[in-house]
Symmetry: C2
Subunit: 586 residues, 2 copies
């Protein structure tokens, strides 16, 4: 089994020294949240994750969810752990106090999301979609529905789902067939089948609130005719108590590569009673409130799982003795952490993980500002950055999760391939993250066609980086980093100019290069994070030499060893798509 120790020191370093959004401190709502309180929360979070959640990871993998006689049973121990989890209030962390939430900012709740991902993604998924449902209802439902459903969701007594996918459509939601027929009382009856529904049914909560995309007969074709409905597993009486069973039935659960402790359901809606959320035919945009925050959290899943993979390979490398390193004088075998190639592998993981954590902390600040700042322009500006970075964090972090968990297996050698160590499970659990909530290719298309070419919001981010660099132009110790970043910004500028041009002349050139563009922006974003970390570390060095010198060293690794990948992506992408479109594929 793997071990996990929450990186609270790393998180507090970010919280204390990298809260660098100048508008953040103006948010009235979070005035009282100070470093001591955050430290206290993180310590508590570490405790429940290490002691209660993390042991569930292996249990869920070995004793997956079971579907029998129409009922889904969670793995052994999940129910008890969930009871503790909601009793301690973890589902309510970032929710509005109006509905029983604790009102914590994203800067704090994102740390918690990471810990939970590191501990057990399967267990996390039972409550994760609830937070998505919470946001969707909060922003789009009427007061009556909010008052009826939100407190129970915040409390964790009821959970939520997102029902989008049908067998004929995942990416292309314009193709959905589920029907919603309006009733005289204003409610709807939904009929259709949804697949791949995470936590679609289980025994942890007394009710499950499905948010379902469906078409009202006569609606416009395609994505313009999709509406959003709230469909509870059990109807809820006006007094808030659970009533009769609604017409939602679980037909089966999937047998999957990983996240076996999480039930992925086929749900059948047969005249199930539902309530319209938001306006008719505007369901997709309401769902996207949920989707966008959810996509960032999926990125955090990739980060969290990578952290566990790193921690365990590091521990193994310090223990396992094999072969002689170059500069040791003993006769016996050395710990493999003394071998340069193993160190390279570990540093590669570490530099990506710490860069990602720093980037996601910065992004959490932008989310907090975008949702809570009193100035509309400031909100808008922050929102643009969130919008730009959403597909990047979703795809880049999850792809890096695959890379890092794959490398972790390799550090363990043969032991990485057996089930005992739990390492191979991390790869399998993570492998869903580049797929769900919109595949990484869909994210890349969203980034390039929508965010870069249509909304043109890339430049704000590049300016932010350039401003950061130029403010430290006189700092000789940062010169190396500034120069490299400037080179990479040149590349991304050339790339986006090329995209602009090709978009007018040959859209396939753009489509074929979206993935490379996303990768480049991902690597550059982490470079931006490492630049800021290095700047802070240089100035604080004397306070904790070990900690800050290691940060500076890891930054150097990232710049020297990881960033060269940008050039390969650029060269590969900008050779165009003629060859790609010419292929006949036998």
């Amino acid at each position: 089994m793997t071990t996990y120790s929450a990186p609270v020191e790393e998180m507090m370093f970010l919280y204390n020294h990298l809260k660098d959004n100048k508008d953040y401190n103006e948010i009235q709502k979070f005035k009282e949240i100070n470093s001591d309180l955050v430290k206290d929360i993180l310590d508590q979070a570490a405790k429940i994750n290490q002691e209660i959640v993390h042991p569930l990871a292996k249990v869920g993998d070995e004793t997956p969810c079971v579907y029998e006689n129409g009922v889904v049973r969670s793995p052994p121990g999940y129910k008890q752990a969930y009871q503790q989890f909601i009793k301690d209030g973890w589902t309510s962390l970032s929710c509005d106090p109006k509905y029983g939430g604790q009102g914590m900012p994203k800067t704090v709740s994102t740390f918690f999301e990471e810990m939970l991902s590191s501990s057990s993604l399967s267990f996390k998924l039972y409550s994760e979609l609830s937070i998505g449902a919470y946001h969707c209802i909060l922003h789009h439902a009427d007061t009556k529905i909010k008052n009826k459903f939100l407190p129970k969701i915040v409390e964790g007594k009821w959970s939520g789902t997102m029902c989008l996918t049908e067998s004929q459509c995942g990416t292309d939601l314009g193709l959905i067939k589920t029907k919603a027929e309006k009733q005289e009382d204003g409610s709807f009856l939904l009929t259709g089948q949804k697949i791949f529904i995470t936590s679609g049914d289980h025994d942890l909560t007394e009710n499950i609130i499905h948010l379902v995309l469906a078409k009202i007969p006569g609606a416009p074709p395609g994505t313009k005719g999709i509406s959003l409905f709230l469909v509870p597993k059990f109807n809820v009486n006006d007094d808030g108590n659970i009533g009769t069973r609604n017409g939602v039935k679980t037909l089966s659960i999937e047998s999957k590569m990983g996240i076996k402790g999480s039930p992925t359901c086929v749900l059948n809606f047969d005249n199930a009673k539902g309530y319209l959320i938001g306006k008719e035919n505007k369901g997709l945009s309401s769902m996207f409130t949920m989707m966008n925050l959810e996509r960032i959290i999926v990125g955090i899943q990739g980060l969290g799982i990578a952290e566990t993979a790193y921690q365990n390979s590091l521990a193994y490398a310090k223990e396992r003795k094999q072969g002689k390193a170059n500069n040791t004088n003993t006769e016996k075998a050395d710990e493999i952490i003394k071998h340069a190639d193993i160190r390279r592998s570990l540093l590669s993981m570490k530099s990506i993980i710490e860069g990602e954590r720093s980037l996601s902390f910065w992004l959490s600040q932008q989310i907090d500002v975008s949702l809570n700042h009193s100035d509309e322009n400031i909100r808008k500006n922050a929102n643009d950055l969130v919008s730009l970075m959403t597909p990047v964090v979703k795809s880049f972090f999850t792809d890096m999760g695959s890379e890092i968990t794959n490398e972790a297996i390799q550090v363990f050698g043969g032991y990485g391939y057996t089930k005992d160590q739990g390492i191979e499970q991390l790869f399998r659990d993570n492998r869903i993250t580049p797929i769900y909530e919109g595949t990484n290719s869909v994210q890349a298309i969203d980034l390039v066609f929508r965010k870069v070419l249509k909304e043109k919001i890339l430049n704000n981010f590049l300016k932010l980086i350039q401003k950061e660099i130029s403010e430290h132009n006189n700092n000789q110790q940062l010169k190396k980093f500034s120069n490299i970043i400037n080179d990479k910004i040149d590349i991304i500028n050339k790339f986006s100019n090329w995209l602009e041009k090709r978009n007018k002349e040959k859209r396939d050139d753009v489509s074929a290069s979206c993935n490379d563009f996303l990768k480049i922006l991902g690597y550059l974003s982490l470079a931006y994070s490492w630049f800021k970390t290095t700047k802070v570390s240089l100035s604080l060095k004397d306070q904790n030499k070990n900690f800050y010198n290691e940060k500076i060293n890891t930054a150097n690794y990232y710049f020297d060893k990881i960033l060269p990948r940008i050039n390969a992506h650029y060269e590969s992408a900008t050779s165009g798509s003629d060859i790609i479109m010419n292929a006949k594929f036998g």
Copy 2:
């Protein structure tokens, strides 16, 4: 479940048009092997693989091997399939007719290895090690042992294993503890425990012949005191019949990420009777006869599994409709193969797979020459090329296998993550290949420190490439490819000069860059293969326009889209190892 159709046309293209080793035709032994015969063998091979072996892949994954009461049972259907397999003579394909083999060259048997890997790696592993054992016995045992054991192994009635690893050592065989004590009759009694023994015990054959590394008391320490022994599961009487059970016991089998249809055993040797193979204390070099050929076959496994992943993603992409492509006029969703990004992904797989197949065909010629040519110098020269390429093919093909099976999952989206389609199994099955028979890092160290720096056999290969290019200097259609290859050869030359220098000044710089060097040589080798394929395709184009134009197009893809990776590896590696060695890792 996946489907599989053996790429016989691709293989015959190589056999008919890329048999380009000028010394190959001088091998007397293979004079009678002609294209018709090879085609006939491949058609038969395709049939058994498609119809009998491939269905076993999913069976083995869903109903893994079982260990009960000291006995290992193979998955349902494996026994019957194996009976057919040996009845048709597939275990004897490349073996010496003297012992009942069919005497086929590696150029042919390698194609078969690929098909078997594509169909079911688990099933393949039951006979694969037998061929390794065959080679080891053939080259190092005395006549009596050869006559006693080889015919049964060739026939497939007995199988073989390689027993190297112990719990404290995989990579570092100097640490083995298994003891072998000499008896008066010249035999030995072996005592110790071996782990990770592929096909270490099973019910497909009537006997299992273990090749075991052990130490004779008083032997020199480390790798210089290791001897090799043949230890049968059942003792064999002088008349060749099976006798009493020997002191080898199976303690357990591993629960693994993949290849679940193949038993990975912990074997206990308790005064088990064994026979010395080769000279005392020279066991490691005898074992390497087996290991080296085996390592190439592991590379072929990566290629074979990638082929199945590619075939299935291609078929899915032609069928699945989702989203609108850029240049189609329908209102409805298009097949995803019309999307540029999916095409890019498929072409990436295809260009690597076909390049690898071509490289491994070339390498098979070198093996045939190195083993069978009458001229010692020619043998030596070919052997050097085989020696250089062994770690490259092992590591590069298996790493690309991970990349390609991972991409295949992505093409399938959510369906790639569920068990039904069998796609995720390909990733899991392949994932052992970068680990066993020496991890890919060990291969990279072998390549750089032994082959490049010590034996200095890189230049022969580079000269071969340069010769090939310079012979077609006047061919304008090949100019683009020549220029790119020349650029990449410059890089690899600069890199190897750097290695020479760093090896004298700072060995950690070399150790930290071995993996990057191997990758670069891998990419360059495939470029060499694609160059030859393009040359041939240009000259034959009028005979089969579709086939050859597609080859030329795929070559262009490989050069434009894949080769830029070389530069990133070079830049990353040659920034040295100071940062790597400075890291404190908390």
